[in-house]
């Protein structure tokens, strides 16, 4: 067996729902539609779709850490915020020339990952697990929020970048790709759309491969029974830490893209609500599967936004009802439930045919 097919074979596996030609055909169609769609749409819708896409990365990160790894983390928003602020600080100080925004993107994500490495080392090597991990990460996140919120004074500056407290930082440059005929600036419309869509595809497929690889096996094994995993010779804490750092980097991508999208980052992006929302998306979609998380996040975001637009003051009530019903009706998550149903129907059909 040669390398590449073996590698691609990992796109499918027990860890991810969606298998076989039928799935990949649908996948290709959906992706083609996603590529073509800006051509038939207005600037607002495209920008708004980018905004939805931006959140998918943090949802996937939580899917990885919580759904697959079994560690409940309220801390993804902390990494989101750190990456966002880092991008702001870097670009406000060094500008956007020579493609520096792309460097800043990478650096910002690296800073978030580094922070996660530190925090994760602290937690996993202190053997904190389960719900307690959730509450500790929540505490860290809220602490960051509180801290950033009180940096309103002029003494809180890094280089020329004011941290600006609760009001947040703004006016950082958008992503800019250096180009011979003049830089391409990715404002929150078609340019950024394709960039984010491409990144999303890459991350999604990459995570599928990762989760179906030996590494992914170990991650779910640790979720199921860390003691057993250790007794099979796996350094549990190391695996947990690596997962946590990868997750933080993904959350960092969201953070940078969010900052780029609105040219704005605020401490409330690390607040209680912000910390709970990714959990909601992931749980509603189906936390133990990447595809479900991806679809679920987009569905919930769109539904919540639509409710806010059309539901006026009843929007939050509807959202609440929706969440409660979803949890009651679809125990594994809405999207995962539907996908399982489809695959069950499909197998029954094909069995019926022969």
């Amino acid at each position: 067996m040669n390398g590449l097919p073996g590698f691609l074979r990992l796109l499918e596996g027990p860890q991810t729902v969606g298998r076989g030609p039928a799935f990949w055909i649908v996948f290709a169609i959906v992706f083609a539609m996603a590529c073509a769609y800006p051509l038939f749409s207005d600037g607002y819708t495209v920008g708004n779709t980018v905004y939805f896409f931006v959140w998918v990365f943090i949802a996937l990160s939580l899917c990885l850490i919580w759904g697959y790894g079994g560690s409940l983390s309220f801390g993804q928003t902390a990494f989101f915020g750190i990456a966002g602020y880092s991008y702001g600080i870097l670009t406000l100080n060094f500008g956007s020339a020579y493609g520096f925004t792309l460097v800043a993107l990478v650096l910002a994500i690296a800073i978030a990952a580094l922070f996660a490495l530190l925090l994760g080392y602290f937690m996993f090597f202190g053997r904190i697990a389960g719900v307690f991990l959730g509450i500790v990460t929540l505490a860290v996140t809220l602490m960051l929020e509180r801290f950033m919120a009180q940096t309103a004074g002029p003494e809180w500056r890094i280089g020329v970048a004011r941290l600006n407290g609760f009001n947040g930082m703004s006016a950082m440059p958008p992503l800019t790709i250096p180009w011979p005929g003049g830089d391409i600036v990715l404002f929150a419309d078609i340019g950024l759309y394709y960039a984010v869509l491409g990144l999303l595809l890459l991350v999604y497929l990459g995570l599928r491969i990762l989760m179906n690889s030996a590494f992914g096996n170990v991650i779910v094994a640790i979720r199921e029974n860390p003691e057993r995993a250790e007794m099979l010779g796996y350094d549990v804490r190391k695996y947990q830490l690596i997962t946590f750092v990868i997750g933080a980097a993904l959350a960092g991508i969201s953070g940078v893209l969010y900052t780029v999208w609105g040219q704005y980052i605020t401490p409330s992006s690390m607040g209680m609500t912000a910390a709970a929302l990714p959990l909601i998306w992931v749980a509603v979609g189906g936390r133990s599967d990447l595809t479900s998380t991806l679809i679920g996040t987009l569905v919930v975001l769109a539904a919540f936004q639509a409710l806010t637009i059309y539901g006026s003051q009843y929007a939050l009530v509807f959202m609440g009802v929706l969440l409660v019903l979803t949890v009651l009706i679809a125990p594994n998550g809405l999207v995962l439930g539907v996908m399982n149903l489809i695959s069950r129907l499909a197998t029954r059909r094909s069995k019926g045919d022969v």
């Binding site: 307690f132 929540l138 505490a139 809220l142 003051q313 609440g320 009802v321 409660v324 125990p331």
Partner: protein
């Protein structure tokens, strides 16, 4: 200024912080510690208690009775919520995060729509007293006493009564408890209602001292969670010492550098305690006991 004034003021601040932490946390601790349910609607049960207390006080019920009414209504609402929603989620406690978040949205915004954006306050009873050059609110001492009362009551309820043992058994191995003749559904209902009622009681007790708005529960949430983390899994052993430790941290930091440091002190305390005692204070105590 004489030393006694200083000591009294430090004690008073400690008691005040302790009461707030413990009363905020008790309901959450019962529901989390006993049932493994992270109740993100905890603040809304507090709000419910406060609203019922204020509205019954407005129609003329004496304050102590109004507070009891707040606690009882919150408990009943809790029982209802358990019956309709939580009951179906015991085998997947993490999903209760989503469900209770949903409930909290419904409760907050529903109250805003039905009752309006705020409610008139009831005023703090009992007036003030003077020690040295400081004057203090007497009602705050009542809060402190209530916190001690609640802690004692809870400890007795769950450790000395049959209900307590059955409840803890049910939470640990539900199917086995059922097979031994325990009506586990009833136990779950009662436990959840108890947690909700305690939240309502906290709301009722603080109603005279606070802004009454639909989002008021949010101001209790962080203190509640922090106390529960530090307390650890065994709420009856953990909550009191956690409240005490945090109250010291909070009151000392606040008087030293102001409210921001009080808040940050709490969070730093969480990190430190969790690092040193990953299972919280109760985990530490239990390990020593065996």
């Amino acid at each position: 200024m004489d030393i006694a004034t200083h000591i009294f003021s430090a004690l008073y601040q400690f008691g005040d912080a302790f009461a707030f932490l413990v009363l905020s946390a008790c309901g959450l601790a019962v529901i989390f510690g006993m049932m493994g349910v992270i109740n993100l609607a905890h603040g809304e049960f507090i709000m419910c208690g406060a609203y019922v207390t204020a509205s019954t006080a407005h129609v003329g019920l004496p304050l102590p009775l109004a507070i009891m009414a707040g606690a009882i209504v919150a408990a009943l609402v809790g029982a209802l919520v358990e019956l309709v929603v939580i009951r179906h989620l015991y085998d997947r406690p993490l999903d209760t995060i989503v469900a209770t978040w949903g409930l909290s949205l419904i409760a907050t915004q529903g109250t805003l729509i039905l009752v309006g954006s705020s409610m008139a306050g009831v005023g703090t009873p009992f007036g003030s007293f003077q020690v040295g050059e400081y004057s203090y609110s007497i009602y705050r001492l009542v809060l402190f006493a209530s916190a001690l009362g609640v802690l004692g009551g809870l400890y007795m309820l769950f450790n000395w009564t049959r209900f307590g043992v059955l409840a803890r058994a049910t939470i640990q191995v539900p199917h086995m408890a059922a097979a031994l003749g325990v009506d586990t559904r009833l136990i779950y209902s009662l436990t959840f209602a108890c947690g909700a009622g305690l939240a309502g009681l906290a709301g009722g007790l603080y109603a005279p001292t606070m802004t009454l708005v639909p989002t008021m529960g949010a101001t209790f949430i962080m203190e509640a969670f922090v106390t529960v983390v530090i307390g650890g899994a065994d709420v009856f052993l953990g909550t009191a010492p956690a409240g005490a430790v945090l109250a010291v941290v909070k009151s000392v930091m606040t008087s030293w550098q102001g409210q921001l440091f009080g808040q940050i002190g709490l969070l730093v305390a969480v990190i430190i305690v969790v690092r040193v005692l990953p299972k919280g204070i109760s985990g530490f105590l239990l390990r020593e006991r065996t």
